[in-house]
C-alpha cells in the first residue's frame, strides 16, 4: 500500500523538494520574530540615553556609584598615591595590559570612571578594598587595582571604561 520514498536524491520529485524547501523557509522565518522579541524593546533602548553626572560633591578619596543602562558605574576621585601606583606598575606584569593613561582622560587623571561589574561572573566589586588600593570582588576574590585593572583572581579582564566625556571641569556625560 505504501510507496517507499526512494533514497536516491536524483530520483526525488522536483515538486517534493520545492514544497519541502518552501515549508522549511517558512519555519525558519517564524523563528525570527520569536527570538527578536526577546531583545531590548524600543523604550529600553531609548531610555539608555546619555546621563550627566556632577563631580563637584565628590571629594578626593571618595567615589560614587551611578546607574547607566542599568549598570553601576563607579566614579572614583583618586588620590595622588593611587594615581602614582596605577602609573608606575610595569605593563608586562599585568594579566590584561593597559596603561592608566588609556583608561583616564588627559588632564583629569584624578577621575577613574569604570563599569562596576566584575569581569568574572558579574558581581559588583567593593571600592577601596583588596591589596591594590582599588576594587575587591567578594564573590570569588578578584582584585582590581586603582585603575580598575585585574591583578589577581579568576576575572579575565579589566573593569571596562564606559564611553564618557567631560562637558565641563566638574561634569561628565556618560554614554
Amino acid at each position: 500500500m505504501t510507496t517507499e520514498v526512494s533514497t536516491e536524491p536524483t530520483r526525488r520529485d522536483f515538486l517534493y523538494i520545492a514544497t519541502g524547501a518552501v515549508a522549511a523557509v517558512g519555519a525558519a522565518a517564524v523563528v525570527w520574530p520569536l527570538v527578536s522579541q526577546m531583545n531590548p524593546d524600543a523604550s529600553t533602548i531609548a531610555a539608555g540615553a546619555p546621563i550627566e553626572v556632577d563631580l563637584g560633591p565628590v571629594a578626593e578619596g571618595q567615589e560614587i556609584k551611578v546607574f547607566w543602562r542599568g549598570k553601576p558605574i563607579y566614579i572614583m576621585h583618586r588620590s595622588a598615591q593611587q594615581i602614582e601606583e596605577a602609573r608606575t606598575v610595569s605593563l608586562s606584569s599585568l594579566p590584561d595590559p593597559q596603561s592608566d593613561q588609556d583608561r583616564t582622560k588627559e588632564g583629569h587623571e584624578q577621575w577613574l570612571v569604570v563599569v562596576g561589574i566584575c569581569t568574572h561572573l558579574g558581581c559588583i566589586p567593593m571600592a577601596r578594598q583588596g591589596n591594590y588600593n582599588g576594587f575587591f570582588c567578594p564573590c570569588h576574590g578578584s582584585q582590581y587595582d586603582s585603575s580598575g585593572r585585574i591583578r589577581q583572581g579568576p576575572a579575565p579582564a579589566n573593569l571596562p571604561v564606559p564611553p564618557y566625556q567631560f562637558v565641563s571641569a566638574s561634569k561628565i556625560q556618560i554614554g
Binding site: L15, A23, Q37, D41
Partner: protein, 691 residues
C-alpha cells in the same frame, strides 16, 4: 497506545534507545503507520488545525507573558508597550488575540463535523466527552484571557460572567467573592485570572492527549460512518493524512493572516481600548462572539437562576449526546431527516449568536426564547425520536466501495470547505459588531483616508500637519501618554528628523524627574525618550477643569471609538477591509457641532450639540474653525482639513506600526498562498498512488 514493536530502527544507537524506551515505535505506529480511513474529507483536517492553533496560542502566549504586567494599574499600559515598543510585539498580540477567535472557529467546525457524521456514537462516546471537556476548558481560558488587557470590556465582562455564579442558591455570593478575591472585580481578580490563563492551556494539552489516545484506540470515524473492514479501506497516516492535514492547516493560516495583518481589530470591541473604569459600564456589554449563542440563551430566560442553568445546560447537554441519539447509522449522509434537522440546528446556533449581540428587548427576547426552545428540542426531542423512527438509507458495504462509487464527485470538497467555513465563521463573528456604539447619534460620513485598504500608507505631510494641530489645539486639554517624541522619527510615522523631534521635546512642558542627590524632585526638559506631556497632573484635576468630563487620552482614541455597520455591511467590510469607523467618528465629531440643537432637544448646561456624539450633548466646545492653525506647506487650513489632518495623526498614534503590519502581511499572504498550492499538488501526487 503501543502494541508489540513493529518498528526496527537501522542505527545501533537508535536500537539501544528503542529497547529501553520504545518512543520511535510509538511515533511510528501512531503517526506514520496508523491506518486512517481513506475517504476522510477536508472537514477532518480541523483536528490537525486545532492542534496547530493550540500550539500557536501557547507559543505566542508565553511570549506575551514575558512582557505583560498583571496589575490593575499597569496591565493596559503594558499591552500598549507590547504593541508599540517590543520587537514584533504588535504581531504577537494580533496573532494571540485573533488566534483565540480562529481557535473557536476551528473548534465549532470540528464539533459540527462530529455532529453531522455521528462521530460521538459507540464506541467513540468517551472521545466525544473528552472533546466537550476541552471545549469547556477553552471557554474558560478564552474568557480569562479577554480580561487581561483590562479594558472596559475586560472589566465588565469579568464582572458579568463571574456574577453568573451568584445565581447559585445559598453559596452563590460566597463563591463570587472567592472568585474575585475582594468585594468587586479588582487587582486580585486580574492576578488570579492571569495565573489560571497561563495554567489552563496546559490542562487542555493534557486532555488533548487523552482525546487523541482515545481516537487511536477506536480509530477515526469517516464520512460513511462504516468502520474500516479490510486493508483496502485505509491508508497509512503518513504521508496520506499528514499531507492532507498540512494542506488544511496552510489554507487556514492564510485565512488567519487576513485578520492578523489586515483586520486586527475586526474581531474585538472598540470599547476594550478604553482602560477599565469601575465607575462606568459601557452601554452594550457583549461577550466575545464565540460565547454569543449561550449569552442569548442566558438572556432569553427572565429568571436569574434558570437563565444560568439553561446556559450551562446548553453546553452540558452535549455530554449526553451519545445516548440521546441512539440511531445505529452514524453518518447523516444516510439519514435524510437527521440531515435536514442538522442544518436547521446550525441555523438556530447562528441566529442565537446574532441575537446574543442584539439588545435584550422586545422582539429580540421573543426570538431568543423560541430559538432556545429549538436548541434544546434538537437534543431532547428531535434526536431521540429520529433515532427510533427515521428510515435510513442503505449503507455502502465498505469504505472502498464508497470511494469507488463516488470518485466522480471529487474536488468539490476543498472549495466547499473554504466557502462554508468563511461564511459560517464571519456570520457569527460579525454579528458581534452589531452591538458596537449604537447608542444614539447619526452615522458619521465615510471619508477618504490614505491609510485605508491593504496597501494604504500614511501621508507624511498630513501627519506633520496633524501633529501641529494636536500641539496647538488638542494638547491644551488632552494627553497622549503612550506616544513618545522618539516615535515621531520612526519609520512609518510623520517622518520628522531626529533634530526636529528633539526640538519639539525640548520646547514642550518640562517633565518631573528625580529624586536628585539631595532627594528632591526637579523639572527637566523633555527628551526623545519622554512621552507627550499631560495638561493636567491627574484625572481629578482634568475633570475639575472641564466641567466634570475629563478629556480622554488621545493615544488610542481612533481605535476606541466605533459605530454600527449593520448586516450585511460588516460582512462586506471583512472583504473590503473597511475598518475606518474610528477615524470617521473622530473627524465627524470634530466637525459635527450645530449652533442650534434640533427642535425639542434640551441641551444641558455647559454642553454643546454634536450630531455624531452619542447622546449629542458633548462637553467639549468646538475647537477647530477655519484658520485656527496656520500651515507652512500651503495646504488650505479649513476646519475640515484641520479635522482630517489631526485625525490621520491620531490614527498613526494609535497604530504606529500599521505600515509595517500591512507590508509584512502581504509577504506572509503571498508565501502562504504559494505554500498552500505546493502542498495541495504534492498531496494530489501522493494520493494518486492510493487510488
Amino acid at each position: 497506545m503501543s502494541g508489540p514493536s513493529t518498528y526496527q530502527p537501522q542505527h545501533k544507537a537508535l536500537q539501544w534507545i528503542e529497547q529501553r524506551l520504545p518512543v520511535m515505535n510509538f511515533v511510528h505506529s501512531s503517526f506514520v503507520a496508523y491506518p486512517t480511513p481513506r475517504n476522510l474529507n477536508y472537514w477532518w483536517t480541523f483536528g490537525a488545525i486545532l492542534a496547530m492553533m493550540l500550539a500557536v496560542q501557547i507559543i505566542t502566549g508565553v511570549v506575551l507573558a514575558m512582557h505583560y504586567t498583571p496589575h490593575a494599574d499597569l496591565a493596559f499600559d503594558s499591552i500598549e508597550a507590547i504593541v508599540r515598543d517590543v520587537n514584533y510585539g504588535w504581531m504577537m498580540r494580533n496573532i494571540h488575540a485573533a488566534g483565540a477567535s480562529m481557535f473557536f472557529i476551528a473548534v465549532y467546525v470540528h464539533m459540527f463535523r462530529g455532529l453531522y457524521y455521528g462521530s460521538y456514537k459507540e464506541p467513540r462516546e468517551l472521545l466525544w466527552i473528552l472533546g466537550v471537556i476541552i471545549y469547556l476548558l477553552m471557554m474558560a481560558t478564552g474568557f480569562m484571557g479577554y480580561v487581561l488587557p483590562w479594558g472596559q470590556m475586560s472589566f465588565w465582562g469579568a464582572t458579568v460572567i463571574t456574577n453568573l455564579f451568584s445565581a447559585i442558591p445559598l453559596v452563590g455570593d460566597s463563591i463570587v467573592t472567592l472568585l474575585w478575591g475582594g468585594y468587586s472585580v479588582g487587582n486580585p481578580t486580574l492576578n488570579r485570572f492571569f495565573s489560571l490563563h497561563y495554567l489552563l492551556p496546559f490542562v487542555i494539552v493534557g486532555v488533548v492527549v487523552l482525546h487523541i489516545w482515545a481516537m487511536h484506540v477506536t480509530g477515526q470515524n469517516n464520512p460513511t460512518g462504516v468502520e474500516p473492514k479490510t486493508e483496502k479501506d485505509t491508508v497509512p497516516f503518513t504521508p496520506y493524512a499528514t499531507l492532507k492535514d498540512l494542506v488544511g492547516m496552510s489554507a487556514f493560516l492564510l485565512f488567519f493572516s487576513w485578520f492578523i495583518f489586515y483586520m486586527p481589530n475586526y474581531l474585538g470591541e472598540a470599547d476594550n481600548y478604553i482602560p477599565a473604569n469601575p465607575g462606568v459600564t459601557p452601554p452594550h456589554i457583549v461577550p466575545e462572539w464565540y460565547y454569543l449563542p449561550f449569552y442569548a440563551i442566558l438572556r432569553a430566560i427572565p429568571n436569574k437562576l434558570l437563565g444560568v442553568v439553561a446556559m450551562f445546560g446548553a453546553i452540558l447537554v452535549l455530554l449526553f449526546l451519545p445516548w440521546l441519539d441512539s440511531c445505529k447509522v452514524r453518518s447523516s449522509r444516510y439519514r435524510p431527516l437527521a440531515k435536514r434537522f442538522f442544518w436547521a440546528f446550525v441555523a438556530v446556533c447562528l441566529l442565537l449568536g446574532w441575537l446574543g449581540a442584539k439588545p435584550a428587548e422586545g422582539v429580540y427576547t421573543v426570538m431568543s426564547q423560541v430559538l432556545t426552545a429549538c436548541y434544546f428540542a434538537y437534543f431532547l426531542v428531535v434526536l431521540p425520536v429520529l433515532s427510533r423512527k427515521e428510515k435510513t438509507l442503505p449503507l455502502p458495504n465498505s469504505i472502498a466501495d464508497d470511494v469507488l462509487a463516488s470518485s466522480s464527485s471529487k474536488g468539490k470538497s476543498l472549495a466547499s470547505v473554504a466557502v462554508i467555513a468563511a461564511l459560517a465563521g464571519t456570520l457569527v463573528v460579525g454579528a458581534s459588531q452589531d452591538a458596537k456604539a449604537s447608542a444614539g447619534g447619526n452615522v458619521p460620513p465615510s471619508l477618504e483616508w490614505s491609510f485605508a485598504g491593504p496597501f494604504g500608507t500614511f501621508d507624511r505631510a498630513q501627519l506633520q500637519r496633524g501633529y501641529k494641530v494636536y500641539k496647538e489645539v488638542c494638547s491644551a486639554c488632552h494627553s497622549m501618554k503612550y506616544v513618545h517624541y522618539r516615535n515621531l522619527t520612526e519609520p512609518g510615522g510623520p517622518g520628522f528628523t531626529v533634530e526636529q523631534a528633539k526640538a519639539f521635546a525640548a520646547e514642550a512642558a518640562p517633565i518631573k524627574d528625580g529624586p536628585n542627590d539631595s532627594g528632591e524632585m526637579f523639572d527637566r526638559p523633555r527628551r526623545l525618550a519622554d512621552p507627550f506631556p499631560s495638561p493636567y497632573p491627574n484625572e481629578a484635576a482634568a475633570r475639575f477643569s472641564n466641567g466634570g468630563a475629563a478629556p480622554p487620552d488621545l493615544s488610542v482614541i481612533t481605535k476606541a471609538r466605533s459605530y454600527e455597520r449593520g448586516f450585511p455591511q460588516f460582512l462586506i467590510d471583512l472583504v473590503t477591509q473597511f475598518q475606518e469607523q474610528g477615524p470617521n467618528y473622530v473627524a465627524g465629531v470634530l466637525r459635527g457641532y450645530e449652533d442650534t440643537p434640533p427642535e425639542g432637544f434640551v441641551l444641558p448646561d455647559g454642553a454643546y450639540y454634536n450630531k455624531y456624539y452619542p447622546g449629542h450633548a458633548i462637553k467639549m466646545p468646538q475647537m477647530l474653525m477655519d484658520g485656527v492653525v496656520t500651515y507652512d506647506d500651503g495646504t488650505p487650513n479649513t476646519a475640515d482639513q484641520l479635522a482630517k489632518d489631526v485625525t490621520a495623526f491620531l490614527m498613526w498614534a494609535a497604530e504606529p506600526h500599521m505600515e509595517a503590519r500591512k507590508r509584512l502581511g502581504l509577504q506572509v499572504m503571498i508565501f502562504l498562498a504559494l505554500l498552500t498550492g505546493l502542498l495541495y499538488f504534492t498531496k494530489r501526487r501522493v494520493w494518486a498512488n492510493a487510488h
